[in-house]
Amino acid sequence: MTETDKSKGSKEMQSAGKMREIMAGYYIDAKTAEQTGKKVAWITSGGPVEPLIAMDIIPVYPENHGAMIGASKMGADLCQKAEEMGYSGDLCSYARADIACSLVDGGPIGGLPKPDMLVCCNNICGTVMKWYEIQARYYNVPLFIFDTPFCHTEYADEAKKYVQRQVEEYVIFLEGVCKKRLDRDRMEEVGRLSVEAQRLWQAVLDTAMNRPSPMTCFDAFFHLALIVTLRGTQTAVDYYRSLLKEMEQRVADGIGAVPNEKYRLLWDNLPIWYRLRWLSEKFAAHDACLVADTYTSSWSMSLRYTKDEGSFLDSMGEGYARAYINIGVDEMIKIVLEMVDKYDVDGFVMHSNRSCKPYSLGQYDIQRAVQRERGIPSVIIESHMVDERSFSESQTETRIDAFMEMINQKG
C-alpha cells in the first residue's frame, strides 16, 4: 500500500513483503486443506476465531476476500452478477461479491475454498445472517450463528449469560463437526496469543501518536489482515512484533509516512478498497496524514474488556459483544472523541459506506458531536466499499479539496 513515491525516502515498509508472503501461504493452505486433511470454516470478520485456531481448523473470511476483490477492482462485475441472480443493489457489496463469487469462482484467487462449516457472528450486522444462511444452503454445510445482542450502553447480565451459553454451544458445535474434543490447554494458549497479538496491534496503531506519524490509516488497512484472519496464532504475534519494531525505528529516525505532515486526520468507516492509492496520494498532496481510523482499531478494542483472571473462553464474550458497531451511537461518539484527543487530530474524514448500514447509520450525529465537542471540521465522502459503480471521483475530489481548503483557512 505504501509503494508510492520512493523519492521521499523509504516509503515501502519492509514488513509489507512479509505480509504478502504470509497471506499467500495462508490462502494456499486454505485452498489445499482437503488434501492435507484439515477442515475449513468460513467466519465473519467479527466472529470468535480463537476456538477455530485451537481446533486446528483453517478460518477463511469472505469479508477479507471481499476487500481483495475490491482492491483488485473486480467488485463491480461480481456485484452486477449478484444483481442478475436477484440480489438487491442496495445490499452490502461484500455479500453480493461473495455470493456471486461462489457461483463463478471469481475474484483474484479463483474463489474461496469450499467450507466444511460456517460460523456467523452478528456483532457486525444482520446482513451476515442471511448471507451465511444462503451459503449454508448452497454448500450444504452446518452453520453456527453466534448471536450477540446489541449493547446500547452496557453489557447487561442477561446478555452476558446468553452470550456465554452460546460460547459453550459453539464449542459443542465445533467438536461435533470435527469429531474431536477441544484441547482446553491449547485453547488457553491460543487465547493468550490472541490477547498478545491484539496488544501488539494496538501498540503499532499507537505509534501514530507521534509527530510525524510513521504510518497512515492506509498502511493500517494493509497490515490489518493478520489480526483479523489469524488472531490466536504465533504467526500473528511474530508479525506484529516485528512491525512494531519497524514503526518504532521510523519514529526514532523521524520518518513520517507523509513527508510534510501538516494536518492530522481521523478516518471513519471501512476503506474504499478500490481507491486506496488515489485517496492516499490525494491527502498526502494536501500535506495531510490520516493518522488513525475507527475501523482498524476495532480489532484490539476487546482489550478494554479482557480480564487477566479466568479462562479465555469465559471472558471472551464481552469483547465480541461490544464490537465497535454493536454499541450505541453515544458510545461510538465517546470512542471517536477519545481518538481525536489521543492522536491530536485536526479533521475528521467520514466515509458514508452504502455497504455498511450499522457503521454508516448515526454518522451525521457523530459528525455533529465532534464539531460541537472538539470544534474540528469534517467531510463526508460516499461510496460502496467494493462496488466502484457507486463512486464518483470528481465529486469526491471536490469534497476532499474543499475540506482541506477549509482546514487550511483555519490555519
Binding site: 471540521p377 463526508i380 460516499e382 464518483s392 465529486q395 471536490t398 479539496d401 474543499a402 481548503e405 483557512q409
Partner: protein, 255 residues
C-alpha cells in the same frame, strides 16, 4: 490590486474582475464541450468588454468543476471556498449560503470572519439543481426565465414525489394528463426543488442572514419556496450567478 476569478460550471462559465475591492465587471457564457476553451473565451471576452489587457490582471483564481482546466490561473480553489468568499464580499453579515448551480447544490455555514465553517453538497443526483428545472421547463413547454414567476401564481402546488429527475418528468407528464393546472404543477416542481435543498440545509444548520447564490438564485419561485420551507428570508444579489467567480477574484487577492 486587480484580480480575476473564473468559475467553470457544468452549464455556464463565469468570469469576474475585481480592482481594489470593486467589481469592474463580470460575464457569463455557456461552457459547452471544451472547459479549457470556455475559460479562455469568457475571460478574453470580459477583458475586451472592460477594454483591459490580460497583463493588467495580477492574479487569477479558477474554480468550479472545470477549475483544473484553466491552465492560465495561478491557483485552483474549490467553489465551496469561493462561494463563501464571494457571498461574504457582497454582504459580510451573511452566515449561511445556499448555492444552487447546474448540477449540484450546496449549503455553506460561514464564520464571522468569512471562512467556511461547514458545508454539505448534494452531488449524487440532479434533483434540486438547475438541470432539474431545465428538464421540467422543457416538459412544461415553458421559458426557463418565466418558470419561477409562473410558480408564484399557484396557492395549491401539486405533489411531486419522485427523487429522480427523469422519473419526476414522467410524473409531471402524468399530472398534466390528469388535468392538474399548469400553475399548480409548476409550483409543485419548485417546491420539490426547495424540499431537496432545505433538508440538506437543515443538516448543516441555517443561520440568518441567508444568501442564495448560483444561477438558480435568479429563479424567484425557488427563492420563495425555499423561504417558505426554511422559515427565513433569503437575500439574492444581482451578482448571484457570478458569485463563484467574484469569490475566486477575492481569493486571488490573498494569494
Amino acid at each position: 490590486m486587480i484580480t480575476a476569478g473564473i468559475d467553470i460550471g457544468s452549464i455556464t462559465a463565469k468570469a469576474a474582475v475585481l480592482s481594489n475591492g470593486r467589481i469592474l465587471g463580470s460575464k457569463v457564457a455557456f461552457t459547452g464541450y471544451n472547459a479549457q476553451q470556455a475559460g479562455t473565451d469568457v475571460f478574453d471576452d470580459l477583458l475586451k468588454e472592460l477594454e483591459m489587457d490580460a497583463s493588467s490582471i495580477e492574479k487569477i483564481v479558477s474554480t468550479g468543476y472545470g477549475r483544473n482546466s484553466v491552465t492560465f490561473a495561478d491557483k485552483a480553489i474549490t467553489e465551496i471556498i469561493c462561494h463563501g468568499a464571494g457571498a461574504y464580499y457582497l454582504n459580510s453579515e451573511v452566515r449561511s449560503i445556499i448555492d444552487v448551480g447546474g448540477q449540484d447544490s450546496k449549503v455553506l455555514a460561514i464564520n464571522p470572519n468569512g471562512t467556511v465553517k461547514d458545508f454539505a453538497m448534494n452531488d449524487k443526483c440532479a434533483a434540486g439543481t438547475g438541470r432539474f428545472l431545465e428538464v421540467m421547463a422543457r416538459a412544461m413547454e415553458s421559458n426557463l426565465d418565466d418558470f419561477g414567476i409562473l410558480s408564484l401564481r399557484s396557492g395549491t402546488p401539486s405533489k411531486i414525489s419522485s427523487i429522480c429527475t427523469v422519473f419526476a418528468e414522467s410524473e409531471v407528464i402524468s399530472l398534466i394528463a390528469k388535468g392538474e393546472s399548469r400553475e399548480d404543477i409548476i409550483a409543485g416542481i419548485h417546491e420539490s426543488v426547495a424540499s431537496r435543498i432545505s433538508s440538506m440545509a437543515r443538516r448543516v444548520g441555517v443561520k440568518e442572514p441567508v444568501m442564495m447564490t448560483g444561477g438558480v438564485a435568479r429563479n424567484i419561485g425557488v427563492v420563495r419556496a425555499l423561504e417558505k420551507a426554511l422559515g427565513v428570508s433569503i437575500e439574492v444579489s444581482e451578482f448571484a450567478q457570478v458569485n463563484g467567480a467574484i469569490g475566486a477574484a477575492v481569493m486571488a487577492v490573498k494569494l
